[in-house]
Symmetry: C2
């Protein structure tokens, strides 16, 4: 505050101090991410100040989370101040923005409101501020510079009567009268604080003659004096200023420590020219410059992590893909069958997309060769026989991002050709496993098939087809991979087999088709003319799927998730028509691009092709007759499949007959998936 000690002294003003709370920055972050994005245009915000602070504290203009709600309430006994927020997109814009111009613009508006008389009617226009910010949301560093514009009299303001405490000037009676008048005016106005008022006083009474006056000797007073000079310049020479302080000291109210002084109202040089102005706040070193607050350390780290993760995603929408529906992706519940090389990479990519609900199913333990290729495991996880993959994967996701909602199921998936009828115990375990898998598939939106055998994909393919869940399937060869979505059957309209069937005829040997809608697309087994069976029995080590070029699983895992996201962004989801390689030059169906049926990759050629193929009416997994048997007979049908050889499903679907009719050529492939065509 001003501390003039002699009559010759000029009035000096203590500038407003900015007090920006963490809540303000948090709210700014949200606004930036969700509303402003790249919009740098000025925004209206609201702060408040309080005249009840103890002696010694600077006059603070507070900005908290409520600052962005300009029409919202002001805290009790505080006065509002409306300001302009300039939030820049880059630190560089923040640095090079023309601060002088911003100040002059604001000062001009104050001056104009004074000139026009608007400020006399509503002096709140005198109390405006500027806040220039740059929010580095990657580091949670917030750069800011605060400005409270104050118009200046060229010669300063001469003090006629130096400041004194009110109790030294007013009698106790006068003080009581002031307090009573203040309170009744507040009540009349329905407020708890008056930012400005005009008053007359006698020895006994205090009368408020207007709303104008102010509460502390801060920069605002300068604008008030300019207003008064402009208003009264010719009529009034000296004004008495009351800096009203409304404190509570040791439980009782006190306005005695308000300050009064008299100044000579200076002449304004020229009515039409805006006076000079000052107002940019000094930084903590006392120099003219911006301040920076680093909130990365004081915010709740887990919340910080959550909002940081969202940031990268939201950034995509700002300019690159404004139509991206992130919620659709983030809220998708993903079931990962297999937590090996593919499962780990799929989970990592899902995390990158902000997917929160991830469930693993695997029955394997982590072995020493896993960590270098399965990016959720470490050496420690292999000790003592190895942790369960499903459980360890959950632990790792939580370590990566504590906000994830991950679950693990250490369980087997029953498979065709792997009998379960050794004993009552094995049979009832298989039944439990089937029920658990059915429950899990029901509870999730997308099922990822990421196992290393062909036959383990059969049961989830059947269940997911029956439950109309989107299936994304990935399988590896040595340097080739397939990533595909299964056809998503239309919702069942009746229980009869014929309506569930795709009426269009198809054959297993058919090659690429165009414009196949999602519900007519094939599944993983549609291209095969042999039912799944125990494929691990006769495989040598190098025929197991884990023998692949190390980069392959990362590529296939990433593509499986990117394919899922593309499907989710399509208005028809899993029913979207399949894009093929020929569509690459056409207008893409989603903002993210194509929605293929299959991506078949060839690492040796660094090439991908996008075949699409129809569902096969004799498919051993998704054909109407298989789904019908499953839906009607449940586990008793499934156990027949588990306990039987290939021929059971082949007889059922009519493949046996087809075999007899056609000489189906066995196509060789290094992958366990037989009959894989490129």
């Amino acid at each position: 505050i001003a501390s003039p000690s002699s009559a010759d002294l000029k009035l000096q003003f203590a500038p407003f101090s900015s007090a920006l709370e963490a809540g303000f920055w948090h709210q700014l972050t949200q606004k930036k991410l969700n509303d402003y994005r790249l919009d740098e245009s000025p925004k209206c915000i609201k702060g408040y100040y309080y005249n009840g602070d103890p002696v010694g504290l600077p006059t603070r203009l507070n900005l908290e989370f409520s600052a962005f709600d300009v029409d919202g309430p002001t805290p009790a006994r505080c006065s509002p101040a409306v300001g302009t927020l300039y939030n820049t997109n880059t630190l560089d814009s923040f640095k090079i923005i023309d601060k002088k111009a911003l100040l002059e613009k604001e000062a001009r508006e104050i001056w104009d409101s004074i000139q026009s008389g608007a400020a006399w009617k509503d002096p709140s226009t005198l109390c405006r501020f500027i806040l220039l910010t740059f929010a580095d949301l990657k580091k949670y560093h917030f750069y800011y510079w605060f400005c409270f514009p104050a118009l200046c009299f060229p010669e300063g303001i001469k003090i006629v009567q130096p400041p004194s405490l009110l109790e030294q000037i007013f009698s106790a009676k006068q003080i009581a009268a002031l307090q009573e008048a203040y309170d009744s005016l507040c009540m009349k106005r329905g407020t708890t604080a008056l930012p400005y008022f005009l008053m007359k006083y006698t020895d006994d009474t205090v009368e408020f003659t207007g709303c104008l006056s102010h509460t502390r000797t801060h920069s605002l007073t300068m604008n008030l004096l300019v207003l008064l000079a402009n208003q009264w310049g010719s009529k009034v020479d000296t004004v008495e200023v009351l800096c009203f302080r409304d404190r509570t000291l040791q439980g009782s109210r006190s306005i005695q420590h308000s300050i009064m002084f008299q100044v000579k109202l200076p002449e304004l040089p020229n009515n039409s020219v805006c006076p000079k102005s000052v107002g940019w706040e000094k930084n903590k070193k006392g120099a003219m410059g911006p301040r920076m607050v680093n909130l990365s350390e004081c915010m709740d780290p887990k919340r910080l992590a959550a909002s940081s993760v969202d940031l990268n995603l939201k950034l995509m929408r700002w300019r690159l893909v404004p139509s991206l529906d992130l919620d659709k992706v983030v809220s998708t519940k993903c079931l990962l069958l297999g937590a090996g090389t593919l499962g780990c990479n799929v989970a990592r990519t899902l995390m990158g997309w902000g997917v929160r609900h991830i469930t693993f199913v695997d029955n394997a333990k982590i072995s020493y060769s896993n960590p270098v290729r399965q990016p959720l495991y470490e050496f420690e996880d292999c000790l003592g026989g190895g942790k369960s993959k499903a459980m360890a994967a959950v632990d790792r996701l939580t370590k990566i991002f504590p906000g994830v909602n991950a679950e693990g199921y250490n369980m087997s998936i029953p498979m065709p050709g792997h009998p379960v009828n050794f004993s009552q115990a094995t049979l009832s375990q298989a039944q439990k496993d089937v029920e658990q898998l059915e429950k899990l598939i029901s509870e999730h939106d997308v099922v990822f098939l990421l196992m290393d055998t062909r036959e383990s994909r059969w049961l989830p393919t059947v269940i997911a087809a029956s439950k109309r869940k989107l299936v994304v399937n990935a399988a590896l060869g040595f340097d080739t991979f397939v990533v595909m979505r299964h056809g998503l059957k239309k919702p069942p309209v009746s229980q009869s087999v014929s309506t569930g069937a795709d009426s269009s005829p198809s054959s297993p040997g058919s090659s690429l088709f165009s414009n196949i809608p999602g519900h007519k697309l094939g599944c993983y087994f549609c291209n095969d003319v042999v039912a799944p069976g125990d494929s691990t029995r006769d495989r040598t080590l190098d025929q197991q799927c884990t023998v692949s070029r190390p980069g392959l699983a990362m590529i296939a895992g990433a593509l499986a998730v990117e394919m899922m996201v593309s499907i989710l962004q399509h208005s028809e989801g899993g029913y979207a028509v399949a894009s093929s390689s020929e569509d690459r030059m056409n207008e893409p169906p989603t903002s993210l691009g194509l929605v293929p049926h299959q991506i078949r990759g060839f690492l040796s050629r660094f090439d991908n092709v996008l075949p699409a193929s129809l569902a096969f009416d004799k498919c051993t997994a998704c054909s109407p007759i298989v789904l019908d048997h499953y839906e009607r007979e449940g586990f008793s049908f499934l156990s027949k499949v588990f306990n039987s050889s290939h021929s059971f499903l082949e007889d059922l679907t009519g493949l046996t007959l087809l075999h007899q009719e056609t000489q189906a050529a066995e196509l060789s492939c290094s992958c366990c998936k037989r009959g894989w065509r490129s």
Copy 2:
């Protein structure tokens, strides 16, 4: 051992017990991985047995690491036994292999050697064994079944004189004479044990009349008796058998506990027909069946991890890519400039390929948004302001695979347009950074450029070009990426500028070329008509390279490493002619496929193209004039580049002139890499 108690009893034989030591399995693992691979043909191995064990221990046939060295030494006082190893490729082959046939085959050979008289000359042919194994090298489970073939007399062998300890039959004098005769025969033969001998004895003397006899009443004795019956059948009715035991008891030698008995030598039924045989060992439960030993828990975990990691790699060679030179890959020293999204994924893929020497350079700290996209970091790494990425990446690699040789450098890379001349301190820091980078590039074989700005790639591009190091560069857009190798300049033949230059003229706007040899290929900057400068100054958040589809970095990181491996497998390495998209249908130049110059990927179309382009003689990074200035002036040249704007390099290389002559179209791209053409 046999324990007949009456003269009517038949001789019974204690079978050999197999004693397979961890060293044997370890050596089998190595043989399987490096020599046998998928070869299932029978292998000759050597075990040994010892006749000095204390009473109560079974007669063991020991197999240890030395078993595969058939011509190697046998431990002192032990006798060798040669056998046949059948190591199968699958557990299923192990189970279904015809054990009866294996036994009969071996028995027939023994019989034949008896019939032919060969066994009389060299009775070691009587002492043969079979070992059937399956090594599950993923789990370190070893399945085995041991067989010591013994020919049988149909009616058994009648005991004439039941077994007694030698000391009950021989006088002390006779025992001393036997010991002396035994030792002198050993000495004469240059050995420490005699597996078989024939002896005559009187009350005073023991005379060895041949090498035939045996040391314990085990299965081998059966074959010996068949041999004797065949040899002496018509002449001799009863033989006395000495089971020679050569123990050391409480420090002094003792052969007193050898056993003697007499048997009636049975008649052989028919000279020409091989007798029946027995010999498959019972398992620990006493049933006929294989045994399994789980070594995953008792082996040194870190060594286990190391050999497990190698396994997947070696598996590739067995059938898929026999010509793969793994050592070239594994021994490559990789320098990763940037430990962010790309750096983490590149490091993970390198680990998958078994690369052991990985060095990170990064000056950033881990922020909360990193772990979900940068797969070497976790939430914990972000706390307290964040760990250094380079250091944390090293820690993580060590946690994944303790055998890795990783180092981290938390340092900045000076950049064009980022002045370093603020003070003597900043200048000397920059000089230190340059020297450190030069040292690191010298010490490594491949330099990966994985930063998120264009200009940070300039200095390493110049240094690596000058030092003729292979550079693999990866950069991300929102849904596009480029992975490329820089042209590898030919070794300098003189210091003159002209010889270092590629003489063929080229222009920056040129499109794809065919058959460009590696030394004429362009670098990252060759396609650009603007020198690198401070590109971060005016970028909004969404223009920073980290805003990309989450799967993109995994794909690009994986491809960068797979490209490196393909280059390393090419006989000409970095000088290999660049494969292009058109080469996809041709015979690939390496066993792993193509060796492109660039892979440009488009995630929205799930497509990659493989452009190749010539080095540009006005390139701001790899052109002869830039390299010449760098090599002659060193840091003083570099600091000029750091401190200057674009125009310095553009003036130097002649780009400025080119600008004036041609209206170079600025091509827009979402990536920070300007002028990126697809």
